[in-house]
Symmetry: C2
Subunit: 406 residues, 2 copies
């Protein structure tokens, strides 16, 4: 191995995810995470080892690199894997190609033109339905027929590490019919994963479930923050708006769908049968362990949730097929969120709303405090990794601190 | 006058709207509509009359031009008005600066990063509430407190003239609990106007109602197509999705807020009183006449709706103040739709849903046919203009034909 990779690293030789980084003396550029390091792809390109226009590696986002297509991007990934493992490769004896992750700043990996958020965890949808409606009719009648989704705000998606201020907005006090204005009192995280598309379509074109994975470049972790009290007052009839668009955070490394291929598993049985355009062949869920930690100000982090991406009722191929069945066009760099990923167990719920069950079961923190929702000064950290036969492919983390309202 | 401007032209000397056009021998570039012509701004720039980097005029969208700021873009507009009226100006005797609109192709005027659709006409919201819920409680409790809005799809917004295919999707047949798949049977237009932002904000920043107009570059007509049957089945609880994102059309010329300034009028009284962040000073509605025509295949157009932008309950400054009160950031080129603009009279309703009252009062067409919703082969045309003291400032039209489902 050209570079030391710690055991249990998310960024093993089996991963090779792409991101955009900078350092004091390197402008934002494409890199690959390997162990505790980043391989600088612009520096690699200077070795004249790539047969594409390497100007795409010097851009501030990966969109142009991704637009080269999987034939090229997969080969880059394969070549890098090979070179890193070959002591005599072009990368050997060139420490200047590598940067410590701890010394780099990560940036948004792609420019996101459109952001869609699905609602595809049956456990999450059932929990929400149970809390707010009739437990016997927790799922809406359309839920098992449609991968329910809605459009989110692309401009306010930021990369892990960027602190945010608690949002302000209108909420309706209990037993009142006049709203009040102020900082949200029910700020929540949502544990999600997101996929990023790698090919464009034209208006009017549809992507079948068979074709869908060819349109997906890779995945990231997604913390899709929610202000539950703002949402409650605003969302009927047109859906969430200011309760969501103040910020969403993604992890900086895009793990390719190819790196996740060994971790495919079957998803939940879909009953009733879905309409033909949503039928699919093969195994299209992925076994990705997920966890959420909360670190109160000046206090150690505490894990509050262990979930898994394999719980998803609707898979990514079905989501993309549904999204485009009406001819809606997609672009390289679009982000598609899974919706909150909850499992069956109480400790696998992917939001404070569910973990503390609408505030009725506050979480006890190690420092003696309690949490119904997220407090000022809290840092929320999400991690995810897949592991099988000693091979580990992970996402690192998406982490963000909540500052008081401005 | 340097060029002949027909009486009653939308593109009078008082307008000077900006757009992107091309011809057989001119690549897409910035232009100004004047009468039946377009003034080629790249050709004007070659006369060395501008003091900014005129490369922005050669871009395929106006975003970079707009980013110069109103100090510059307003001066460009003022200079052009002056030159067009001065027989001895730099534009005199140079017919090569002008192109006939009939010989040009119009393109999307801006790249739209994010698209938000509001729901700000009280008559429209009341009509919809009356049809689908209790007429006595037609408006939702939040409606008079919040300029209700939701995020739409930016990728599928196209320019006037581009034909679209009828969307397909899931709908729920009457008295059934199993959805079926097929072409929408209830395709509808929505008569809207949209404003385009001309300044960026940072995440966490808010724009007050006082500042809002400084952030608005100009306006366009917007046909925000809807598939009512798809929407009915999908939209609870997270809002419209595939019922809307198959296409929206905008008019190609951006009429600046400065050109619309003489047409300011007071809006409807807002009662109950709005929260302080939504209060505003001055007159912030605009008197803009709107009409919708339907031209069935091989048949003459028939006007089916006469409305006015002045009916809006919530004005644009309130919409933008609300959108950013939680710190949501905005970018140059974002589009913000008004929501369907209906008036009090039955002939002022801005959608087929309302005009034909859910299909119970079909519109009689001149060719003997009836319309409950839009049929294949129909072309829907929307027009808008303001007029006062003999001065007319108009938008031209947004027009699109509906082709059968693919």
């Amino acid at each position: 191995m050209i570079i030391n990779i710690p055991e249990n690293s998310d960024f093993s030789i089996h991963n090779i995810p792409f991101g955009i980084f900078s350092t004091a003396d390197r402008s934002p550029r494409a890199g690959v995470a390997i162990g505790e390091h980043i391989l600088d792809l612009v520096a690699v390109a200077e070795l004249d080892v790539f047969d594409f226009n390497t100007a795409v590696l010097e851009k501030e986002v990966l969109n142009d690199f991704i637009s080269l297509g999987k034939t090229i991007t997969n080969r880059v990934r394969k070549d890098i894997r090979h070179w890193l493992q070959d002591e005599d490769s072009v990368l050997a004896g060139k420490p200047e190609l590598f940067v410590l992750q701890s010394e780099a700043q990560m940036h948004m990996p792609v420019y996101i033109g459109d952001y869609t958020d699905f609602y595809s965890s049956i456990e999450h949808a059932t929990n929400v339905g149970t809390m707010f409606r009739d437990p016997a009719k927790a799922l809406m009648p359309n839920w098992k027929h449609i991968p329910v989704g809605y459009h989110g705000r692309a401009s306010s998606i930021v990369v892990s590490g960027e602190a945010i201020h608690r949002p302000k907005g209108q909420t309706l006090p209990k037993d009142s019919d006049a709203p009040v204005f102020g900082p949200s009192q029910r700020l929540d995280f949502e544990l999600e994963m997101g996929f990023i598309t790698g090919k464009n379509t034209s208006l009017g074109q549809s992507v079948s479930t068979d074709e869908a994975e060819d349109y997906i470049f890779g995945m990231v972790l997604l913390n899709d923050w929610s202000a539950r009290d703002i949402q409650k007052w605003e969302y009927v009839p047109l859906g969430p708006f200011l309760a969501k668009n103040f910020a969403s955070h993604i992890s900086p490394w895009i793990v390719t769908l190819e790196a996740l291929d060994p971790f495919r598993v079957s998803g939940p049985e879909q009953n009733p049968k879905v309409l033909p355009y949503l039928e699919f062949e093969g195994t299209k869920n992925y076994n990705i362990n997920l966890e959420v930690g909360i670190a109160p100000e000046n206090t150690e982090e505490q894990i509050v949730c262990n979930s898994n991406f394999k719980y998803m009722y609707w898979n990514m191929a079905q989501q993309l097929a549904h999204h485009t069945i009406n001819g809606c066009n997609i672009n390289i760099g679009d982000l598609y969120g899974s919706g909150t990923i909850s499992g069956k167990d109480e400790n696998s719920y992917g939001s404070m709303l569910e973990l503390a069950w609408m505030g009725t079961k506050p979480l006890k923190m190690n420092d003696g405090s309690e949490r119904k929702f997220i407090q000022d000064g809290d840092t929320v950290i999400m991690r995810g990794y897949a592991e099988k036969d000693g091979k580990r492919v992970g996402f690192g983390e998406v982490s963000a601190k909540v500052l008081p309202a401005k």
